[in-house]
Amino acid sequence: MDEALRLSLEVLAVDVPLMILLGVPLGWLLARKAFPGRKVLELFVLIPVVLPPSVLGLYLLLALGQLPGVRAWRLLFSFPALILGALIPALPLVVQGARAGFSSVSRDLEDAARTLGDSEWRVFFRITLPLARRSLGAGLALGTARALGEFGVSLMIAGNIPGVTQTLPLYIYSRAEALDFAAAHGAALLLAAVGVATLIFVRHLEEGRHDPVG
């Protein structure tokens, strides 16, 4: 279990920054900008939410297999595949959170900051981001929980190789299959606790939204 836990945490260590780097700008783009193809992008971002993980994993497996270099560098059934498998279903949650957060910030506030001497970047970091932070944080927390619990897509493109691609959820599956319920219980309890803690954290963020502090 130690190995699976270490691997799960490693995946999060890479995926959380990636979710911020990709999800926040995407959410901002969808909340603030009108551009051709916006509707398509909106739907595309949501696809991982509605597709069964096994279907998503199968398509990814087939698509990645076509890419030059993927086979040569053994990117499938490896740590990079695990990263991707956890990232894809989690990203929509981060994008939705960021988008809701940015949409809730009044344009007047941004305009006011502009007339007070703020460049576009300063407006973003002093006004938009602080005011959107609760929604952003909630989206990121849900995304992180989703990435931690990833099972289906990972199984399809990264396999279930102990010590290499066997994360906690896959470890539970393997242990249960081997009728080693004690080990499965230990890992399951840990994941359940993290999940409930995430929910409480998200509720706390959402309830605090009406504070005078915003």
Partner: protein, 367 residues
């Protein structure tokens, strides 16, 4: 002497075109016009929040916009302050942090001290640590005003920020704004659709009608015989009546050839000859046979609908009465059940508080 600011801008948004050409000095200019005339768009152009199609805008010795030379100064480099209609105070920052937000070229400690000084100037000492949600309407206005002035702008724009406030508070804020202007000499452009704001605040009034700036006039000349006709000709908006103020049973009335109107606001030179102004949106149409509150029963004028014009979200009614044509405005759909077609008989009601006395050719100004 060349004027402090010169504006000649054209802007298009959909089918709406805005053409503004005027100049101003270091004074309080009031931009006056009915709803939908493009007042807010013009302010956004001046602040740099929107790009004009063509034109020039110079402020002091700086050229902020010159489309022919591809000059467009972004809002953060313009030093043009703006107080928004809904104030736009930053909810996540304290009053002091809001005011210190735009203070330039100072370290954070100095900026805080500057902010505190500004808060003292608008009589808000002791409120430094509060958040905007903990302020009353009038206090929020003062914070918004202090915040934009603390950034030492070279032009201050105000987009009807006092429109949500009631009479006494509004008057005291107008006085405050005049005092701050006299102290700082920062030129101000104040947008309003209330004629009394224009009279009480401004040195010069600019008229904006259907997207075009139709001229300007000094406030002193606004109501004297020669300019008045011209101004309302230019504006083609509002109801201006000439007659006489009379006192009866300790109440003020205005008598003109169409009858008598009760007047709630103090009138200079009463009793005596004078004029009153009634904005079209302050004229209400009465439902037949429906009981209305006392306030509306005081002043009733009967007439026939001459024209019913729908302008997007606004309806404009011309009502012919024995004493001339009245202009009435109301939000589309407000009187749908009455079916106000041309030729219908209507009864119009005006609250005594909406009859604005203008004196007789003299400057009406509060102190």
């Amino acid at each position: 002497m060349t004027p402090w600011g010169e504006v000649a801008l054209t802007h298009r948004r959909g089918s709406f075109q805005l053409r503004a050409s005027f100049s101003f000095d270091r004074e309080i200019g009031v931009l006056f016009g009915p709803s939908g005339a493009g007042k807010s768009s013009l302010l956004r152009l001046l602040a740099g929040l929107e790009r004009p199609e063509e034109g020039r805008f110079c402020l002091g010795d700086r050229v902020l916009v010159d489309c022919a030379r591809r000059i467009f100064t972004p809002p953060h480099r313009r030093r043009v302050g703006m107080v928004f209609q809904h104030l736009a105070l930053f909810p996540h920052r304290t009053v002091e942090e809001n005011v210190a937000y735009g203070v330039r070229d100072q370290d954070p400690l100095q900026a805080r001290e500057t902010a505190r000084q500004w808060l003292r100037r608008v009589h808000l000492e002791g409120f430094e640590g509060r958040y905007p949600s903990q302020l009353s309407g009038g206090q929020s206005q003062r914070v918004a005003l202090a915040r934009s002035l603390a950034a030492s702008p070279e032009l201050l724009l105000l987009d009807e920020p006092f429109s949500a406030l009631d009479g006494p508070l509004r008057r005291s804020l107008r006085r405050e704004l005049r005092r701050l202007h006299e102290e700082t000499k920062i030129p101000v452009i104040y947008v309003t659709h209330a004629i009394e704001d224009a009279c009480a605040l401004g040195h010069r009034v600019f008229f904006l009608q259907d997207g075009a700036c139709t001229g300007s006039v000094k406030v002193e000349h606004l109501w004297n015989g020669s300019a008045q006709g011209e101004v309302f000709e230019a504006l083609r908006w509002g109801n201006l009546l000439s007659g006489e103020f009379v006192l009866r049973d300790h109440k003020r009335f205005f008598s003109w050839d169409g009858g008598m109107l009760e007047v709630a606001l103090p009138a200079e030179g009463c009793p005596g000859p004078g004029r009153v102004f009634i904005a079209p949106h302050d004229v209400k149409v009465l439902y037949e046979g429906v009981v209305v509150d006392e306030d509306l029963r005081a002043n009733v004028v009967c007439g026939i609908v001459g024209e019913n014009l729908t302008l997007g979200s606004l309806c404009r009614l011309s009502v012919e009465t024995s004493s001339g044509v009245w202009q009435v405005e109301y939000p589309s759909g407000a009187y749908d059940t009455m079916d106000l077609k041309e030729g219908c008989a209507v009864r119009l009601a005006i609250r005594p508080g909406s009859v604005v006395p203008l004196g007789d050719g003299r400057k009406e100004r509060e102190r």
